[in-house]
């Protein structure tokens, strides 16, 4: 098919303090990335960065980010990721230490989403073993149960229509 092919980088933003998660937003990440690419690859890199790179999804609670970039030069961006040491945003002087941990590189957003779901579930399973108290165990178990496929399918949205006659 004739289309622009992309790569989706699924990254985890790791910060030392949870407080700084508050600062996480789409624009901050975009700027950080741009700066990192610029540092690593110079003007050429930042020019390529301008083409088709955007942040598709961001979850500040888990620190998960989807970055979309063109397949032609995704390595350029990918390779710049390890050089990120802190978040840079235009308006902010607070220096937030962080690093990007790239978990997955996908060809479509769907595969990336699938991977993320699987990865998260894996994390939860892993956590279940490490739980110290019963209460924690309960919580994690409940969370695991709530995110099964059947649970999602159940909530089928049925549309309703309101019709009203209005004329003179």
């Amino acid at each position: 098919m004739v289309r622009f092919k992309s790569r989706y980088l699924l990254c985890e933003v790791c910060v030392p303090e949870r407080n700084s998660l508050q600062l996480l937003d789409e624009r901050a990440i975009h700027h950080t990335l741009r700066a990192a690419v610029n540092r690593a690859h110079g003007d050429y890199g930042s020019a390529l960065f301008n083409i088709g790179v955007n942040v598709k999804y961001l979850n500040a609670l888990t620190g998960v980010v989807f970055i979309r970039c063109r397949k032609a030069h995704y390595r350029l961006i990918w390779s710049a990721l390890p050089f990120i040491t802190h978040l840079e945003d235009r308006g902010q002087t607070q220096n937030v230490q962080c690093f990007f941990n790239c978990i997955h590189v996908g060809g479509t957003i769907k595969t990336s989403q699938k991977f993320l779901a699987q990865y998260n579930r894996q994390q939860l399973h892993r956590m279940l073993l490490d739980c110290n108290t019963d209460a924690e165990k309960q919580h994690v178990r409940r969370a695991l149960l709530s995110c099964s496929v059947g649970n999602v399918k159940r909530e089928e949205a049925d549309d309703e229509e309101g019709s009203d006659d209005d004329d003179e």
Partner: protein, 931 residues
């Protein structure tokens, strides 16, 4: 602890896109996960959701609290787990739900797709079969459902008479239709106002021709939407109850002898009980039924505008629920003041509240109801009372809204149109058996026949009158006429006056001098049973057509069957009663008919060559007459206030529709109130200024009272010459009228204008507004809400030097609001640059709802805002076709006017300046107070 905000993931510049593309995109992104962020920064919120009108916001937010929120240092297992689980859920949703198209097989890779999968689900892999099956069922079901649904019937079926009537009946449940609705709807732009569907303006260009019709021939209007109230009881009790609603200061009231006899229609201005001159409600017309011999029982019809009715309903909201719930007896128990209270509150509310509650049931009723043409007020539920009695005063009120059709003919030849159209009924000689129809029984009585003969004679005399204006104002003539459809001309023609002199010169002169005799005003229309019988025994159009086709000579007059006698009332409407120019302009006749006969009279009238006008023409008519029009020009009435609010909203809407660069900057033009005039503020400021001028140190301000309007009744009754019988307000107006004229030879009857006299008037009427007419001296076309200003001495000298001078200019004002906006804009930019400074200095808080180019709400002094003092504002202004120059009707402050007149030289009295809201040019105008 902290809030989570979910916002759209995409970083799209197409935030503002609308329409199909947007909807497609929304559908596509429906199941995609949204960003999850903490709310602290605030900007992602602004960006993500397109609904905020503020657009892009940069830098620090004034309201944001920096990054002060703190999360707990350590993470708990439950929090961690929940966040993951939520994410997994959203991802699964995104993965599993189909995005744009909802075909199941699009989930398959291409090499696994097969032909005709959508028809045969067995071709799909079994794991997808279930979903596909469901989809297919749904698509088939919708087809079936479509069959089940009441399919839109074919046009042919819809236009079948019975179905069409049902449809019409359904459509007129919310807004009442006049009987001429269909006729009008084909030719006019219809508007929904006051819960009626009313014609506004013809679709054809008819402004000038309508004016010519009013000027030389006749203009026809359907005024059936006016509400009629019937009061029955003994004369004194009715008068005693009503006297509290009116004041003799505004002119003759319900009790004037001329009106009591029933030979004239009167008009009054209603006030809330005992609150004159405050609490003004609105104008009303009234008509007494002539006294019947041997009884003191009287009938009174009061015609009010529907806006007045609606406002009463609104203002007494609490009471109306109460009175709507209780029955008749309880209600009349409650009012101690009997009729006055019920007049003020109960009646109007009852009529309006009840239909609302029963709406749902009506729907079901109407489906089963036979298709029958609705007559009268069809929004009213079946059980709603239309009649209320009062226990202690024996007065009954009935609501005759839509029971009586009222047509108005305006123009000097209105009487010719009437005499051509209406044929007085001839008495039936061969009445043998008493039938169900009213006329044969009625004509048995000798006295009735005598009266009928007199009325017929008077009606015939009308042909001899050359213009409608010659007849005394407010005359009433009762009549019984044949069905006008019987003598419908074959084609439309214009009725013209007879040029040969009438036979009875003497009778005509008597008619024009004395009007119609009181006994001739009696009509069977007053009788509810006759009205009912006439309405329901109307001959069908089909029958009439058959008779017409059987007539031996085509186009000849048909023989009148016994049921086609209609009692009507002709009521003369005074034309221009004020002032000296164009007296009696726009006079006419009102034709009152029983309901159901609307179209039967309408078509014959139209066939006599009249023009038909809508609401717009009513406004213009009163403008040409120099009269205030209800509810447009009654800013002291609740209905008028409501209208002004609506008008303001409409004008602002219109203003905002223009691109910002093309809008008038009213601030620069020094126009404070282009949309709605602050009358209260104006009167207060003038009063304050006068106090300052006087130098009396009465700093103790009286409590802020409502402004009033100095008015006199519209009825054109000629008062007796004795000074003492003339109402107060009229005398004041007369004095002002004389003072406004730049007179050289003053009549001795009026005292000259001196500061003492002015101060005296000031004390009495300082808080009042006054209706004046302004005639422009040279160029200029005044617009709505143009300012009336006081000329300075140099302005007057300029005029003296050059009579055709176009007037002074207002210097351009500074737009401080624009600067404020700019400063704010700059400040926000700066704060973004220097980033971290949290919540920079609060620049002046801008009021919300600020429109660029319009003064924000707390207005500065309206009086002295411009280089000339403001006297008032124009309510209606236009180029007057009658006068051949710009003319405006305005309200001015009485104290302001006195102040102005005192300072002007004798020969330049009453010269003021007019300036349109969208211009800087002042124009000279002459004030005329019409009496």
């Amino acid at each position: 602890m902290y809030r989570l905000l979910i916002c759209r993931a995409e970083y799209s510049p197409y935030r503002m896109m609308t329409g199909a593309k947007d909807r497609m995109r929304q559908k596509k992104m429906k199941n995609q996960p949204r960003n999850v962020t903490y709310s602290s920064t605030g900007r992602s919120v602004e960006r993500g959701q397109g609904s905020h009108a503020s657009g892009w916001v940069r830098g620090h937010q004034a309201g944001g609290q920096g990054y002060s929120q703190h999360l707990p240092k350590y993470i708990t297992a439950s929090h961690f787990a929940n966040a993951r689980a939520a994410e997994v859920n959203s991802m699964l949703k995104a993965v599993n739900k189909p995005a744009g198209s909802c075909h199941v097989f699009s989930a398959l890779p291409k090499h696994m797709r097969r032909r005709a999968m959508s028809h045969n689900t067995k071709r799909l892999p079994s794991r997808l079969r279930e979903g596909a099956q469901k989809l297919m069922e749904r698509s088939q079901q919708t087809e079936k459902e479509k069959k089940h649904l009441p399919k839109r019937r074919s046009r042919r079926a819809r236009r079948r008479h019975g179905n069409l009537l049902l449809e019409f009946n359904r459509r007129q449940r919310k807004n009442k239709w006049l009987e001429t609705h269909i006729w009008h709807a084909k030719r006019f732009h219809m508007v929904k106002r006051w819960s009626y569907c009313l014609p506004h303006k013809p679709t054809a260009k008819t402004f000038r021709s309508s004016y010519r019709a009013m000027n030389t021939h006749a203009l026809l209007q359907d005024l059936s939407y006016f509400c009629c109230l019937e009061l029955q009881g003994s004369e004194e009790t009715i008068l005693r109850a009503l006297v509290r609603l009116t004041s003799k200061d505004t002119g003759p009231t319900f009790g004037a002898e001329l009106f009591l006899s029933g030979s004239r229609q009167g008009s009054v201005h209603l006030y809330r009980a005992d609150q004159f001159p405050h609490g003004s409600l609105g104008p009303a017309d009234f008509l007494w039924r002539p006294r019947a011999p041997h009884t003191s029982h009287r009938q009174l019809w009061i015609w009010i505008h529907p806006a007045l009715k609606a406002v009463k309903h609104l203002s007494n909201n609490t009471l109306c629920h109460y009175s709507g719930a209780v029955s008749l007896s309880a209600q009349s128990d409650a009012d101690k003041n009997a009729i006055v209270l019920s007049f003020n509150n109960g009646l109007f509310c009852l009529a309006l509240v009840c239909p609302r509650q029963k709406r749902k049931r009506d729907d079901e009723d109407c489906i089963n109801a036979p298709s029958k043409k609705l007559l009268g007020d069809c929004t009213r539920a079946a059980g709603t009372p239309v009649r209320w009695g009062s226990v202690d005063t024996t007065i009954t009120i009935s609501d005759l809204t839509m029971e009586i059709v009222r047509y108005r003919l305006i123009g000097p030849l209105a009487h010719m149109v009437l005499t051509d159209t209406l044929q007085p009924a001839n008495e039936d000689k061969e009445t043998v058996e008493p039938s169900g129809f009213w006329w044969p029984n009625h004509s048995q009585d000798q006295t009735n026949m005598k009266l009928h003969q007199q009325q017929t004679d008077t009606f015939q005399l009308l042909r001899g009158v050359s213009s409608t204006g010659e007849i005394p104002a407010g005359c009433v003539l009762g009549l019984t006429v044949d069905d006008p459809r019987l003598s419908l001309p074959q084609r439309r023609s214009k009725s013209l006056p007879d040029l040969q002199p009438s036979a009875d010169e003497c009778g005509v002169r008597d008619l024009t001098l004395r009007g119609v005799g009181a006994h001739c005003s009696e009509s069977a229309l007053w009788d509810a049973s006759v009205r009912h019988s006439v309405t329901h025994n109307q001959m069908a159009q089909q029958e009439l057509n058959r008779m017409r086709s059987e007539a031996l000579v085509p186009g000849s007059r048909l023989a009148a069957p016994p049921q086609s006698r209609v009692p009507v009332l002709l009521v003369h409407q005074p034309g221009r009663v004020r002032g000296e120019e164009r007296r009696h302009w726009g006079s006419g006749w009102d034709l009152l008919l029983p309901k159901g006969w609307g179209m039967a009279f309408w078509i014959p009238l139209v066939y006599r060559g009249v023009r038909v006008g809508g609401l717009h023409m009513s406004v213009k008519h009163s403008q040409f007459k120099g009269q205030p029009h209800f509810p447009h020009d009654y800013p002291d009435c609740p209905a008028g206030t409501l209208f002004q609010l609506e008008q303001e909203a409409e004008l602002i809407e219109k203003f905002k529709r223009r691109p910002p660069a093309k809008r008038t900057n009213y601030i620069k033009h020094g126009c404070l109130a282009p949309f709605c005039c602050p009358w209260q503020q104006l009167t207060e400021e003038w009063e304050e200024l006068m106090k300052l001028n006087e130098g009396t140190s009465s700093i103790c301000r009286t409590r802020p009272a409502e402004f009033t309007i100095l008015r006199k009744g519209n009825s054109a009754q000629h008062f007796s010459v004795q000074e003492h019988t003339i109402p107060w307000s009229l005398r004041v107006l007369r004095q002002l009228s004389v003072w406004c004229r730049p007179s050289r030879s003053r009549r001795a009857t009026h005292p000259p204008l001196t500061p003492e006299v002015a101060a005296e008037l000031q004390g009495e009427w300082g808080r009042s507004l006054m209706w004046v007419r302004l005639r422009l001296l040279s160029k200029g076309q005044p617009a709505l809400h143009a300012m009336v200003c006081v000329p300075t001495v140099s302005d007057l000298q300029l005029l003296l030097k050059d009579g055709r001078s176009s007037g002074p200019l207002e210097p351009l004002h500074k737009d401080h609001v624009k600067n404020m906006l700019k400063r704010k804009h700059k400040a926000s930019h700066a704060s973004e640059g220097s980033s971290a400074a949290p919540n920079s200095n609060g620049s002046e808080a801008l009021p919300v709802g600020l429109i660029r180019g319009v003064w924000p709400q707390p207005l500065p002094s309206v009086l002295s805002h411009c280089s000339r003092l403001t006297l008032g504002w124009v309510q209606k202004g236009d180029f007057s076709l009658a006068a051949g120059c710009g003319e405006a009707l305005a309200y001015v402050s009485v104290s302001g006017l006195l102040h102005t007149l005192l300072q002007q030289p004798q020969e330049q009295r009453g010269i003021v300046l007019l300036r349109n809201p969208s211009s800087l040019q002042y124009r000279y105008a002459q004030i005329v107070v019409d009496i």
